[in-house]
Structures are given as structure tokens and as C-alpha cells.
């Protein structure tokens, strides 16, 4: 918070009016909302498919992409999209064990992960005087989002969500029950590739708000929280989007009125939601869960 500026009034409407009187904050809210919706929905499938490690690796690949783009004098957004999609393609091309299902991707993913991070570090070392930007690449930034950036985020999100809507049901089938889905003629392998490309796009978008290392704040936390609360797919997806938007908006507000960085604020709000969901379930069913005599078969 800049000294001399008013603190929060604790009236949400007045505070939002204050925040939205600044064009850079309006763009931050627009970009944050677009990213929260896309990352939430793609993240929901990622959590269901147990592909969080792949998501993390794709995000880490975005770091050398953005750093390398800066080094070459190109906008980081091209680096994010180029490297995230390329990393997703590499993971998609990895051979998968026949019965491995959707457990953790192989050690190759981890190898790519470490190398990507090292490359990003090299690019930063080569680009002298870039050090202030490292934090933004790794942990997020919401300043300086232009109208064009928002339009680019929106265009990518609309395309990605249209693809997700088209493949949604077979993707859910292939995620829950790959063997039966394959027997029913669902192209499980092709869907896995399509999903990884969608994941690459969602991660590249989220990286621009939360930074490379905190994408899970919007990718995993809302979905994990929603899946804790309900097992109904449609309700769970809607709840994921809602939680993602609330976390982003609250995080932006807190970041504006406090000295703390945006990545920390969004992540903390999302984490608080996750803890609350656990507490709510524990409270509803009692701790520990009682075993019914003869109830289990």
C-alpha cells in the first residue's frame, strides 16, 4: 500500500469502487477473472486425472520461456505460451505404461522440470539488471496489464473453453474409467493429448497472474476444495469457478490495501478456503468417522 492512500473501508461496494477507479486495477480484475475461470475448469480435470505433477512441470517450463523472451526483447506472454504448450506436447509424447492409468507421470517429467528451471536461471543470469523481474515471473504480478493483454487472455480462454466443452463428457469418461471408455470407442490417447494442450494454455494464462511457482493457487486449490465439498460433477465444476473467482478478487483487494504481494494473497485466500472445506466436512461427519457395525460389505 502506498503511504497516504486510503485504507479499506471494509464496505465491499465502496472498496470495489475505489479499486475500479484505477485502470490498472480494472485490468487486473478482468485478467484475474478470465484466468480463474479457465484455470479452475482445466484444473478440475487435472485434479481428477491425478496429473498435478504434469501441471507443475508445464508451469515451470513457462519460467525459462518468459525469461528467455525478456532476454530477446519479446513480451513474456509469448514465452509463457510457447514454452508451456511445448512442455505439454513433450509430456503428451512420453510413452505411458500400459496399465499406468493416470497416476504420476514418469521420472522423465521430473527431469524436464529441473532442466527448465535451470534454463530460466541461466537466462536471468545472462540478462543483467533483470533481478526485479524474477520475482514477478516466479511469484506473480498484477501491475501493468494492458487492454491488449486482457483481450489476448480472453481470446485464448474462449478457444480453450470451447474445446473443453466439445470434449468434456468423453474426457470425464476417459479420466474416470479409461479402459471402459476405450472399449466404448472413446479415443482415450488422443483426448489425453488434447487435455495436456489445454493444460498448457491454462497454465500459461495463470502464470501471468500468479507467477510460475504459484499457478496451483488457481489450478489445484479451487478444484481440490470443490471436490472435497461435493461429488456431483456439475456442482463441483461450478463451485470450482466460484472459489477461483472469489480467491482472485479477494487476493487482488488484499494485495492492493496491504504491502503483501499478489501471489501470496491469492494463494492464502485459496488455501484458507481449502482448510475451511476440510473443517466443514470433518464437522459434518464427525471425527473420526464412526464405523457402522455390519454396514460395510
Amino acid at each position: 500500500m502506498v503511504p497516504g492512500e486510503p485504507g479499506p473501508s471494509w464496505n465491499p461496494i465502496i472498496d470495489l469502487q475505489l479499486l475500479w477507479s484505477f485502470p490498472f486495477m480494472v485490468n487486473a480484475f478482468r485478467a484475474g477473472t478470465i484466468v480463474a475461470v479457465l484455470a479452475g475448469l482445466i484444473g478440475w480435470f487435472m485434479v481428477l486425472r491425478r496429473q498435478s505433477f504434469a501441471g507443475h512441470t508445464v508451469a515451470v517450463a513457462g519460467f525459462p520461456g518468459a525469461a528467455g523472451a525478456t532476454l530477446l526483447g519479446v513480451a513474456p506472454v509469448f514465452g509463457y505460451f510457447g514454452f508451456c504448450l511445448a512442455a505439454a506436447a513433450v509430456i503428451a509424447a512420453l510413452p505411458r505404461g500400459r496399465d499406468a492409468g493416470y497416476r504420476e507421470e514418469s521420472a522423465v517429467t521430473g527431469t524436464v522440470n529441473a532442466f527448465a528451471l535451470a534454463c530460466g536461471y541461466l537466462f536471468i543470469a545472462l540478462y543483467k539488471g533483470f533481478l526485479g523481474g524474477v520475482n514477478a515471473l516466479l511469484f506473480g504480478n498484477f501491475l501493468g496489464i494492458t487492454d491488449d493483454d486482457v483481450l489476448a487472455l480472453l481470446a485464448v480462454a474462449v478457444v480453450a473453453l470451447a474445446v473443453l466443452a466439445a470434449v468434456g463428457r468423453p474426457l470425464l469418461f476417459a479420466s474416470v474409467d479409461p479402459d471402459v471408455a476405450a472399449a466404448r470407442g472413446v479415443p482415450v490417447r488422443a483426448l489425453s493429448v488434447v487435455f495436456l494442450m489445454l493444460l498448457g494454455a491454462a497454465v500459461a494464462e495463470a502464470s501471468q497472474i500468479t507467477g510460475t511457482l504459484l499457478v496451483f493457487a488457481l489450478l489445484v486449490m479451487p478444484a481440490a476444495t470443490a471436490q472435497r465439498l461435493t461429488a456431483r460433477p456439475v456442482a463441483s465444476l461450478a463451485l470450482t469457478v466460484l472459489i477461483g473467482i472469489v480467491a482472485t478478487w479477494l487476493g487482488l483487494g488484499i494485495a492492493y490495501f496491504s504491502p503483501y504481494p499478489i501471489g501470496f494473497c491469492v494463494t492464502t485466500v485459496a488455501f484458507a478456503g481449502y482448510l475451511l472445506a476440510h473443517a466443514a466436512r470433518a464437522g459434518r461427519f464427525g471425527l473420526p468417522r464412526p464405523r457402522l457395525a455390519g454396514g460395510a460389505t
Partner: protein
């Protein structure tokens, strides 16, 4: 499908008809053979399964029981002979086949309800998302929900179908998966070791359910099994694979000393315990080395119960 009858009303199996019966077969193999990785698993297999028949595929590990199922699904081409499924080549009519692959069960943390898993069997392979609001959408949704509820009731899973499937027991999951396989009213149900990993009471209950599906609902059921005993009261026919060949017939014709001795080429005895269970004694163990996913199973699970 015949009018809905609850499983409880029909646990008594109908008298097994002569097998193989006449009439248009749902599955028909003539001199069929299967080769996997350059090795002939079985050859000269003749088999005919008619509508509403319940047939078990038995045999030791690694003889190609699952391969037989995959051949019928068209996933594995027959190396020789003729295979016809639902009046056509294998793979042509897979939308009329309900298939339960061999599996380990759902991850305990999977947060998807049983009813959703059954619903995926109905329309999970459709692209796009139906647009809500239209009358056609509402009518279709009601019909789909009614069918899902009906088939869940048929397998007796109504009580727990709305719980996350990962939290259900193996027997409960298996019933819901059978419901998923049945939800599109298939003409043929193929199950790969569905009794595996179930305790004895659940093995009996699932076997009774499958017998009911075959005899009361008219669905041909083929089941790969390790242990014939839970199924014995309900089976119409048996395919016993061993030593690269097969014997087919009614359970009495196949599971006896002389028939299995001929198949194995060495003396085999079938003992009947006082409670009517059959035990195959003297069957040579399968080859010690075979690259097969059954290989990791503890040897105790193979013995004493065939």
C-alpha cells in the same frame, strides 16, 4: 429387456438348458486361434453362445482367457478360424456389448458418485454438451435419469449409488460397474474376472446377479473366472482353456476328470467336496515364466479352487 424384476425375487436360477443351444448365436467361434507376441495362446476353439446364456471362461493363468474376451471385442484379431459377434465381424457391434475390464478398483479419493459412473456408461462417449432449456433436452435428461435409476435398482445398488465411488467396497463398486455395462441394454455382457478381489459372500451375490441378468433379462453373459464354484449354480456353459486348446460344454461335461485329463494330456482329477464345491487336482502348473500381468498375483490365489 424384460420387465424389471428385483434380484431378490429371482435368486433361484432357472434350470440350465442343454448347451450349446440351437438358434442364432450371439457369439460364435469356429476353429479360432489367438497369437500374442509370436506365441499361440490357443487354437481350434469352437464356441457358440446364444441369447440369455451364462457362460464362464475358465483355465489357469496365462492361457489367454482375457485374450478371448479381446478377440470377441475385436481388439485382438483372430490368428485363424472364424469369429462372429452379434451377426458380424468382431468390433462391429461393440455398442451392443457391455464390457467390464479386469481392474483394481477405483482410487479411494476419487470424488465422483456411483450414479455418475453409471451415467457415463449411457452417454459418456457423446461429444459436446447438451444445451439446457429446450424441451428436447429436458425429455432426454428425464429418460436418461430414469434408465440409470432403473439399472441401479436392478443390481441392488440404490442404497449407495449417490456416494463417492472411491469410498465404496469392492462388491459395491462391482455392482455399479455391472450397472454401467448394462445401462445401454446390451445384447452381450463381457466380464473379465469380476469376482476377483471380492470376498466369498460378495462373489456369490454377484454371480447370482449375473445369472439373473442372463436368464431373466435375456442378456448373454460371458465371464472370465478363476474359480468356477461361486458361478456353478447359474452357468449354462463352460469354456475351459488349457495347453493351447479348449473344451466347451455344460459344466458337468467339462469339469470332470476324463475331459480335463484329455485337455491337459496328463491325469487330472476333479474332486467334489461335501458342500458341492469342485476342486481340480493334478493340473500342471502354468509355465513358470510368462510375461503376463497375472504373474504378480500370489500363487495361493490360483490353487485349490478350480
Amino acid at each position: 429387456m424384460t420387465p424389471l424384476t428385483r434380484l431378490d425375487d429371482a435368486v433361484q436360477p432357472s434350470a440350465p438348458p442343454a448347451w450349446p443351444s440351437t438358434g442364432d448365436p450371439v457369439v460364435c467361434l469356429r476353429g479360432a486361434a489367438a497369437r500374442v507376441g509370436g506365441r499361440t495362446l490357443w487354437r481350434d476353439v469352437d464356441l457358440s453362445v446364444a441369447a440369455g446364456e451364462f457362460v464362464a471362461v475358465l483355465g489357469p493363468n496365462g492361457v489367454g482367457k482375457s485374450t478371448l474376451v479381446k478377440t470377441i471385442l475385436g481388439l485382438q484379431p483372430a490368428a485363424a478360424g472364424e469369429v462372429r459377434v452379434l451377426g458380424g465381424r468382431p468390433g462391429r457391434a461393440n455398442h451392443r456389448i457391455g464390457y467390464l475390464p479386469q481392474r483394481r478398483g477405483f482410487d479411494a479419493t476419487l470424488r465422483i458418485r456411483g450414479v455418475d459412473v453409471v451415467r457415463l456408461g449411457l452417454d459418456g462417449d457423446r461429444w459436446g454438451i447438451p444445451l439446457p432449456g429446450s424441451a428436447r433436452f429436458a425429455r432426454r435428461r428425464r429418460a436418461a435419469e430414469a434408465r440409470v435409476a432403473e439399472v441401479i435398482d436392478l443390481v441392488g445398488a440404490t442404497g449407495y449409488a449417490h456416494r463417492p465411488i472411491g469410498q465404496l467396497s469392492g462388491g459395491e463398486q462391482q455392482r455399479l460397474l455391472i450397472a454401467q455395462a448394462l445401462v445401454r441394454r446390451p445384447a452381450l455382457l463381457l466380464l473379465d474376472e469380476p469376482l476377483d478381489s471380492l470376498d466369498l459372500p460378495n462373489q456369490g451375490a454377484v454371480a447370482a446377479l449375473l445369472g439373473h441378468v442372463a436368464h431373466a433379462e435375456g442378456v448373454s453373459v460371458m465371464i472370465v473366472a478363476h474359480d468356477v464354484n461361486p458361478l456353478l449354480a447359474y452357468l449354462d456353459g463352460v469354456v475351459y482353456l488349457a495347453h493351447g486348446a479348449a473344451v466347451t460344454g455344460t459344466p458337468d461335461e467339462v469339469i470332470n476328470g476324463p475331459a480335463l485329463s484329455r485337455l491337459y494330456g496328463s491325469p487330472v482329477e476333479v474332486l467334489c467336496t461335501s458342500d458341492g464345491r469342485l476342486v481340480v487336482v493334478g493340473a500342471p502348473e502354468p509355465p513358470a515364466v510368462h510375461a503376463d500381468r497375472h504373474a504378480d498375483r500370489p500363487s495361493g490365489a490360483r490353487d485349490g479352487s478350480r
